[in-house]
């Protein structure tokens, strides 16, 4: 088992890194980052938690089916791409909208961003699915 010290710091890092990963995901279109990078960030911090706290302990209160996560990601990504057909465009035709939100001002909404979220989920789900399966296997 790892030590209290590591556990405490991991616990502190966990939400911060997840936040960071979301930030990387959302920033992706305009800054370095994106679904993959954000997803790996998320996956690594969960992996860190698994490593530091032990898989079984974490599973006792936090046990999502990572298979569903990457399933959702793939679904979201492909549905986003398919959506263009519904608007009588070609598959994967992207759209950019600028909408005005009351508090945040002008916000850029990009269909590709939705796709990137799909990527994010696939990466998280896929990597952690591998982790958990191999980790459970002993």
């Amino acid at each position: 088992m790892t030590t209290l010290i590591t556990k405490t710091i991991t616990k502190i890092c966990l939400p911060l890194v997840i936040l960071f990963s979301i930030s990387l995901l959302l920033a992706g279109h305009n800054n370095p980052g994106g679904g993959f990078i954000g997803g790996v960030m998320f996956a690594s911090v969960i992996a860190l938690t698994y490593v530091v706290y032990g898989l079984d302990y974490i599973k006792s209160f936090f046990d999502p089916d990572w298979g569903n996560w990457f399933g959702f990601g793939l679904l979201l990504a492909s549905v986003t791409a398919f959506a263009a057909i519904a608007f009588s465009h070609n598959f994967f035709r992207s759209a950019v909208e600028f909408i005005h939100l009351p508090f945040f001002g002008e916000v850029e909404l990009v269909s590709a961003g939705l796709f990137d979220i799909g990527v994010y989920f696939v990466v998280i789900g896929g990597l952690l699915f591998i982790f958990k399966n191999v980790g459970d296997d002993r």
Binding site: G33, I37, S44, A47, W66, F70, A77, A81, S94
Partner: protein, 789 residues
Amino acid sequence: MDSFTAITLAVFLPFILAGILPAIEKLLKEKIGWYASAVAFMSLLLVAQAAPEIIHGGTIQKSIEWLPSMGINLSFYADGLSIMFGFIVSGIGVIIMSYSNGYMSKKEDLPRYYQQLLFFMGSMLGMVFSANTIQLFIFWELTSITSFMLIGYWRNRPMSVYGATKSLLITAAGGLFMLAGFLVLHAITGTFDIPTILQNESIRDILHSHELFILTLVLIFIGAASKSAQGPFYIWLPNAMEAPTPVSAFLHSATMVKAGIYLIARIHPIFSGTDAWFFLVSGVGIFTMLLAGFLAFRQTDIKGILAYSTISQLAYIMTMYGYTTHHEPGIGVAAATFHLLNHATFKACLFLVAGIVAHETATRDITKMGGLRKEMPITFIVATIGALSMAGIPPLNGFLSKEMFYEASVEMGSLLGSPYNILIPALAVLGGVFTFAYSIKLIDGIFLGKRPSKGLPEHIHDPSMVMLAPAIFLVGLIVLFGLVPSIPVHNFIEPTVSGILLQEAHLHIKLWHGFTAPLFMTIVTFILGILTYTQYSRIAEWQNKFNARFPWISVNYYYDAAVDNAKNVTSKFSNRMQPGPIKTYMLALLLLTITMFAIPAILLASSLLPSDLNFDIPLYEIIIYLFMIIAALGAAMLPRYVPAIISISGLGYLVALLFIYLQAPDLALTQVLVETLSTIIFLLAIVKIPQKFKEHITKATLTKDLLISATVASIVFILLINATQGIVPPFESLSHYFIENSLPLAGGHNIVNVIIVDFRGYDTLGEIAVLCLAALGVYNLIQSRSDDE
């Protein structure tokens, strides 16, 4: 119904009516054999329907569109030759299928039996009426396959399987050679259509003067010889006797084995009149005739005798079709054709007798028989007439064609001059001697002499009329054709001969034609034949010794060696080729890659490296290059896993740093993350692996591997340095478009990301699919074990 339709129906009716057999099997119950006979009879009638037109000197020819883009149609052609074969096939088919009603036990798998017989008959008819080579080949191979199935009718008997395999391998493989021959013929003549070649002298002239003429002939001849069991290919036929006797009678004496003869007759007008034709066809024919005649004489199995005799008799026919010179292209054609018809009658008859005898005595070994003439008088008479016809005794039909054979041999010999004028007739007589001897032996062994005291069933008698009638009918034909030769000659032989010689033919065949050379030869044959028969034991002794001493003289020896050792020899080969450890395979891939790059490098490159090399790089970047190499070397050299993994992880971070210098923050980010993650997965994977294994690299391996690595490195360097010289003007990169349009059209500042999720988002869709696949694959990997336990 016009003649063409009649022929087409004659070919396809058996297929269709046999195809529905499984469906109506329940309906027919035990009448299934009569159903089959009826089908055969229908075909016979249909052939007969077309016959008059041919006999009056015409031909039938028409096509149905089939593979127009290959220039191949479903086309049927009938001339005398085809019609004669059509009669033989369907006629003997009727006889055999009727006979089978008595022969085949009701417990047998009759639907399969008759279905295959009918398929065979249809294929055979299709073959003889085919107007183009490819169609001919198709039906040809179908006869091989049906023959294979029928020889292996008793599928669980090892000898049946052996015989079936042998016949299939030899005949189907021979067929492939024939196909190749047809293809070369096509390349030369530009057509697959046989009548076109037959009717165009200019095409034949082109063929005769073509450099590939001999190749074409040899290839096609291999097909014919393998099918007709000629030359070294004879070996399959004796083993084919594992088939039920009616099958042997039908396929392996009367019809299928004559397919090769048919082919020779069919291509006679195209290839004859050349030395190659004579030496190949007659040479192989004479050789086979003598060898098989001798071997037939030595058999003790009734069907063995008949099998070798068939080979020998086919060789007669082959030899006669081979008789040809430039001026007289068809010396033996008439004789051959007549003998062909006669052989079909007497040999089918003898096979039926063999079936009856085996049926009654429960053995096929003639040394265990004798004196059966009293118990089976009718069978005895039938058999004797058949055998005497085969031996060439007047006034039976065999005598007539034998005479013609001698006549043609003499004529051929004299045309060729010394020493052939003596040699050919002498060899012909020798062949006749063997025939005479084994014919006598057959009758003597079964019916004459004393009944052995034991080994035979007590009550032996003539069989029912169902089995006897077909044989009696054939005997009737034998006698009829012998006494009144004009009936077959006018109706079959003349049209056939004119079809082969491409000119009107009028033949006069009589029983008595004066004291001529052939008559003299016949007498010599009889005398020598009797002499040989009396010396049987001596000859047998000599041959046994000879065989024991020179086992390799037999073709079977090679066949068995090849087939039996095939597995061992090929195993050795494939074990060497596919040694198991993966290194060989990787080396092969690397070497092929190197070779592929080396070919243009050697052939085309004026200089391997371009002249302008660029060394203008910041120092801190150069040092990073160096570090990367060191880290990689570390990963390569460190003996234990974890240090090596740490080293490669270090390499990964350095690569990330380099990506920074190359202005690629996204890449650096990804690299850093992926590196850490793969380190973790590495650790996950090596958890159970002890770090005990250490490869001992020998000096030779080291040298070899270093050499290959260095070569790979060099080609990468050469390729890269050449490729990065820049795009050849005036072209530019697609990237300009991305840079220009990333913001205005895709609304993203990060061009790389926009490419990933938008411009080339489709790639990314694939990429995430790969991630999902890896996850699912790992799941399966882990799962596969849990279930083992």
